[in-house]
Amino acid sequence: MSKNLNRRDFIKTTTATTAGVATIASGITLTTFVNANESPVTDEKRWGMLIDTNKLTEADIDEMVNACQEEQGWGGETHSTGDQKPRWIKKLKVQDKTTKKITSLPLMCQHCEKPPCVDVCPTNASMKREDGIVLVDRHLCIGCRYCMMACPYDARSFAHETITDQKEHMPRGKGTVEACTMCVHRVDKGESPACAEAVDSDAVIFGDLYDANSKINQTLKKIQSSQIRADLNLNTGVRYSGI
């Protein structure tokens, strides 16, 4: 890489990092990142998820929500009430107006190919990695919440209070916007997102949408699937079957 990396490029292009924190003086900590893999993220991959609501039980969805909370460290807020509470992933129950069929599904950031949140963000804090994962750079977010106005999936939360007990891999901050990261810290290590891992069956398949040999790609070729608000032509990374 010819130019010096700034923090943002670093986050966007590094496929695997591990963080180490050292205390160098009282009250001052130095965070160092060690690259496990120097190769940058490219658009040859497109991470995605296929959720089959016919195979997913309500208990499964609750497990997914719990796993996300535990992995990313949200949900322990004490002051926020009602709609102020963060919800990076939530359980939805929808009913067809004609047939009355009820479907439960997990809803989180859909990791759009053309994310409205990224379009509207004035400071480039909302960003999309080359591999399709949509993130918020908490150092650039000024807390204007325009991305929350623009997101068609109600996927983003605003940190309404001081955050304590943060996970080392997932810094959060009062006054900034946050959402599902598709567990980018796990994906970069070759693992699956926590919510996908939490489900035993193959109701949730995570993988590279472009890879013809991947399970998600092959399944999507075989079965009927849909995108939420497909009419907006955002080409979401999260797909559903059964709704």
Binding site: K90, Q95, V120, L140, R145
Partner: protein, 398 residues
């Protein structure tokens, strides 16, 4: 026409100090509220993940919209060459700058991280309407300041027509940008309508002129200067036309939305069964902020009456704030149509609740105080106001 003599206000009366003190207290209270909200986090406000923009945004956007409209009086003089408005041009530019300053102060102080304002100035996403607005607001300050300088400085007077044209063009783009903040939000049924851009432009004409009329009448009354009927009647007529135009755009916007099946839900919500939002729309926005001011301006019984024009202006401002409340809060309160053909039973949906807290409301209102206090000091420091606007001074003007 004799040369216009501009004169500073004395600014030493009890009324002056009382006004400044009152506004100062309001601004201090708002700063206290900001500290409280920023220290604790936004959980102390009524805002949430569903109503992400609340009372501060209602006032901020009202003031920003009104700001560009307040410049119209100067534009009519220098762009459309109506000499009768020329003596008012300086004040028009000042009111525009003051309103914008008030609006932006509120907007910035409600950010989750106002301390990071420098990022908003240095890291631009040129695809963002918001980022464009930041450029448009800053540009407005610069252009109007230059325009004012050309009006103040005799040697530069000859350029004031061109500067006025630039400012007029810029303000049209600015309000188009402000309306587009909402108009380009495809995900929400209440927005996603390009007509919002011109609607905001025409709203700015009405709100800005109403504010200008109040400032003009108050400053001439309080400084005991003469203000002739000719100029007031012209402004009054213009105000009535602008209010009618706002109602026309609102009607087209809602009729257009009603025609689309995907938007009937939100239209029914705002127009018929949205509780507080429906009441605010009909009683506040349409009747109080539209029909009554028009009646006061045009009805023979009240036409030409200064107090009635003042009342009409106040009602237009209140109606305008209510209109932005209905657009901003009402538009968010109604849930997004995420699953067409399906009903969401759990997890999302329903009408979002919003109860504005005191600190966020005071912050919003203080934007008006910032604007008024800026005007009050500016007219004391610099000669913005003509010594007299008595009818004889411009009887020969068309």
């Amino acid at each position: 026409m004799s040369a216009i003599r501009y004169l500073q206000t004395e600014g030493r009366s009890f009324g002056f100090y009382a006004l400044v003190a009152g506004l100062g207290v309001l601004i201090l209270a708002a700063l206290g509220g900001v500290y409280y909200m920023e220290h604790n986090g936004h959980w102390v406000s009524g805002m949430s993940n569903r109503i992400v923009w609340g009372m501060p945004h209602v006032f901020a956007l009202f003031l920003i919209v009104a700001a560009s409209g307040a410049l119209n009086v100067a534009s009519i003089s220098s762009v459309f060459n109506k000499k009768a408005y020329k003596p008012l041009s300086r004040l028009s530019g000042l009111v525009a700058l003051a309103l914008l300053a008030g609006g932006l102060t509120v907007l910035v102080l409600d950010l989750g991280r106002p301390d990071r304002l420098i990022i908003a100035m240095t890291s631009y996403n040129f695809k963002s309407i918001f980022a464009w607005n930041i450029i448009l607001y800053n540009g407005f300050f610069v252009i109007v300041a230059v325009y004012l300088w050309m009006m103040f400085e005799r040697r530069m007077n000859k350029f004031s027509h061109k500067a006025g044209l630039a400012a007029f063009t810029w303000r049209l783009i600015l309000t188009t940008g402000t309306g587009s903040i909402f108009g380009f939000l495809v995900s929400r049924q209440a927005y996603d309508a390009v007509i919002m851009a011109p609607m905001f432009v025409i709203m700015s004409f009405a709100f800005g002129l109403a504010f200008f009329v109040l400032v003009l009448m108050a400053s001439y009354k309080w400084t005991e200067r003469q203000l002739g009927d000719a100029i007031v009647d012209r402004l009054s007529n213009l105000l009535g036309v602008f209010v009618a135009a706002v109602i026309y755009f609102v009607a087209v916007y809602h009729l257009g939305n009603l025609y689309l099946a995907e938007n009937t839900g939100v239209e029914n919500f705002i127009l018929f069964d949205g509780g507080i939002y429906t009441q605010l729309f009909w009683y506040g926005q349409i009747i109080l902020g539209g029909l009554i001011p028009m009646a006061l301006i045009y009805h023979p019984a009240t036409k030409g009456n200064r107090s009635m024009l003042g009342l009409a202006s106040v009602l237009i401002i209140i109606g305008g704030i209510i209109q932005l409340y209905v657009i901003i809060i009402g538009g968010q309160a109604y849930p997004m149509e995420m699953f067409p053909g399906k009903e969401i039973l759990e997890g999302y949906g329903g009408i979002a609740q919003y109860t504005p807290s005191l600190p966020e409301t005071v912050l919003g209102v203080s934007g008006i105080a910032v604007a008024v206090i800026a005007i009050t000091f500016a007219v004391k420091l610099l000669p913005f106001l003509p010594e007299s606007l008595a009818d004889t001074n411009h009887k020969d003007c068309k």
